[in-house]
């Protein structure tokens, strides 16, 4: 039932292609289409309020970056977008988070269906202890694709999109744990792309990588945004400035009733504005390195 609710609002991949073609033909400017609409979102871990009152929107085919100091709740908010916080028993989400107008936290929404449309790449590369091929084919197989030729095609396409195909095409049957950290992270991107999601959430995808691997993944994101909508959490402000279209700045405030800090969203704006002329003083202090 929940999947039906989502299907009604999310165009399937085939019509999406048609839509993209239509938009290419149509004269600019293309209206920015809202994918996520967040309003008054708060997350609690047990009694502790981790993030409060987040309000923002995420648009299609754009890269939205979350920046801010440690512990300000960037990752927590990101994990709300595909209901990964459901896996933490003590986490509780309040407020509104809609995906193409459907409330993601509606009782009828099945988180499994949500995660098929909204993929995720984690901070630490986390390939399965399986072969490179099986890692990429994992999602499609779960989705019911059994035909070998079809899987081969998907694996090649996903690995090519993740700019990894040339490096691993001769050792697809080898363990995914035997390739370098940067390759593993691109493999994880390929694995997420293989199920053909609409949105890809990235939680500090480059924090464990060297500058060369980071540059590769940044190039990749820029290419991928023509097809996907990307939300990325990053500690690296230069990275946010380089790749994102929109930047959201989070910060923390000390709780009046406890030692733990609560995160909050300070402002969201186009990346160019955020880095040149932010409207909030706190953003400017953080970006210029004067943040306490």
């Amino acid at each position: 039932m929940s999947s039906e609710t989502l299907d009604q609002v999310v165009p399937p991949a085939t019509t999406f292609e048609a839509l993209a073609a239509e938009q290419a033909e149509a004269p600019q400017p293309v209206e920015r289409q809202v994918v996520f609409e967040v309003d008054g979102l708060s997350v609690h871990y047990g009694d502790h309020k981790a993030v409060r009152d987040v309000a923002m929107s995420v648009h299609r085919h754009e890269i939205t970056a979350f920046i801010g100091p440690s512990g300000c709740g960037k990752t927590t908010v990101l994990r709300c977008f595909n209901r990964m916080n459901d896996l933490i028993p003590i986490a509780r989400v309040e407020g509104k988070l809609s995906y193409h107008g459907v409330d993601l936290y509606d009782r009828r929404v099945n988180p499994v269906e949500v995660r098929r449309r909204i993929g995720m790449v984690f901070q630490k590369p986390n390939p399965f202890p399986k072969s490179i091929y099986d890692n990429v084919a994992y999602g499609p197989r779960i989705g019911g694709i059994k035909k070998r030729s079809e899987l081969d095609e998907i694996v090649e396409r996903a690995l090519t999109q993740a700019a990894l195909w040339d490096e691993v095409k001769d050792r697809l049957k080898k363990s995914a744990l035997g390739i370098s950290g940067g390759q593993q992270q691109r493999l994880c991107i390929a694995r997420a792309v293989a199920v053909d999601p609409e949105v890809i959430l990235m939680d500090e995808p480059c924090s464990a990588l060297d500058p060369i691997a980071t540059a590769k993944i940044e190039d990749l994101m820029t290419e991928m945004k023509t097809k996907y909508t990307i939300v990325i959490v990053t500690h690296n402000m230069q990275q946010a400035a380089r790749v994102s279209d929109v930047t959201a700045f989070f910060s923390t405030e000390v709780n009046p009733d406890g030692d733990l800090r609560t995160g909050l969203l300070i402002e969201t704006d186009s990346t160019a504005t955020m880095f040149s002329n932010p409207s909030d003083e706190r953003t400017e202090n953080y970006i210029t390195g004067r943040f306490g």
């Binding site: 896996l87 202890p129 199920v195």
Partner: protein, 336 residues
């Protein structure tokens, strides 16, 4: 003499540094303490190893001769070895030999007896197989429930607690339990390899549940998250990611439980009955190596004692093979 030279900005001279690094400046008291502790540890190890070594030598020296005979693996257990022995002794006594005559060569009537143990070997394998078939799937599924679904809820905590209690229940209680609920209800026919399997399964179940749960807990959560993030249901994640990653650990834990069950005596003695002919069926009375060790020693007499020692060697061999298999599996397919 100060042994702790604080790290100062000025590096000591090469000579002084090499003296410090060689450990020559360590005080006499610390060196003596070091030697004494090392010596005590070696001594403790030797003390712990002595009983094991003596046991091994004793069992193998007494039983190896019988086991190396092919008949041991193919022939039925000789009936009335006790009576044959007794008759033998009486005969010897009648002839005026002293009690020391029991140590003499048995006469022809006793040496005709072929020492076989096939029924007990078959019985042990059957009971262990039956118990494994019941306890392993149930135990692994129970552990999956505890670690992947129940986690810390009340039911899971209760099951975990009961499993811990069950692990500590003496094995003889399991034997009496199955005797009272199964054997008593079916009379003499109730005693069978199946009844013994039930008792052993009760014994194995908590061990398998707890060891499997520990292995599942070792599987890093980021693998579960990676799978969930691709839109995978928990059962599918468990089957295709968690269990494969934990498989080597689960296998070795399970095999250790199997080895433990193979060596159990008390639950089997109550439930398996006694036969001297090989019984390949789960129904009907049967026998096992551990039951044979027990009853042959109780019988007494030189032939019965030989049978008991032989059964002991066979049992130790089976358990050893299982343990080595478990080690091999853990070493060669370790969790990544």
């Amino acid at each position: 003499m100060s042994t702790m030279t604080p790290v100062s900005p000025s590096t000591p001279s090469p000579d002084e540094l090499s003296r410090q690094l060689s450990g020559a400046s360590i005080s006499l008291r610390r060196r003596i303490a070091n030697r004494t502790s090392s010596g005590l540890m070696v001594l403790a190890f030797l003390l712990a190893a002595v009983p094991l070594a003596v046991m091994g030598v004793q069992v193998f020296s007494q039983g190896l001769a019988v086991v190396t005979d092919v008949a041991w693996w193919t022939e039925p257990i000789p009936a009335d070895v006790g009576r044959a022995d007794l008759a033998n002794n009486e005969q010897l006594n009648d002839l005026g030999f002293g009690t020391s005559g029991t140590e003499e060569e048995p006469n022809s009537s006793a040496s005709d007896i072929v020492l076989g143990m096939q029924p007990a070997i078959v019985g042990t394998l059957l009971t262990v197989l039956g118990a494994s078939a019941m306890a392993i799937p149930l135990g692994i599924m129970g552990a999956v429930y505890l670690n992947e679904y129940g986690k810390k809820n009340r039911l899971a905590s209760f099951i975990r607690f009961m499993a811990d209690v069950m692990t500590g229940v003496p094995s003889v209680i399991m034997g009496v339990f199955i005797y009272s609920i199964w054997v008593v209800n079916f009379g003499v026919d109730g005693k069978s390899a199946f009844a013994a399997s039930l008792a052993l399964a009760c014994l194995m179940l908590p061990i398998i549940v707890r060891s499997t749960e520990e292995m599942l807990r070792l599987v890093p959560d980021h693998l579960r998250e990676a799978s969930s993030a691709l839109g995978t249901r928990t059962w599918k994640t468990t089957l295709s990611v968690v269990l494969p990653a934990a498989l080597p650990g689960i296998t070795s834990g399970t095999l250790l439980a199997v080895a433990r069950a193979a060596g159990e005596t008390a639950p089997v003695v109550f439930t398996i009955g006694f036969v001297t002919q090989t019984n390949w069926s789960f129904t009907g009375q049967n026998t096992s190596l551990s039951a044979q060790i027990y009853s042959q020693f109780v019988n007494g007499g030189s032939l019965a004692t030989q049978l008991a020692w032989g059964a002991a060697v066979t049992l130790v061999g089976i358990v050893l093979v299982l343990t080595l298999t478990a080690r091999f599996i853990t070493r060669h397919f370790s969790v990544t």
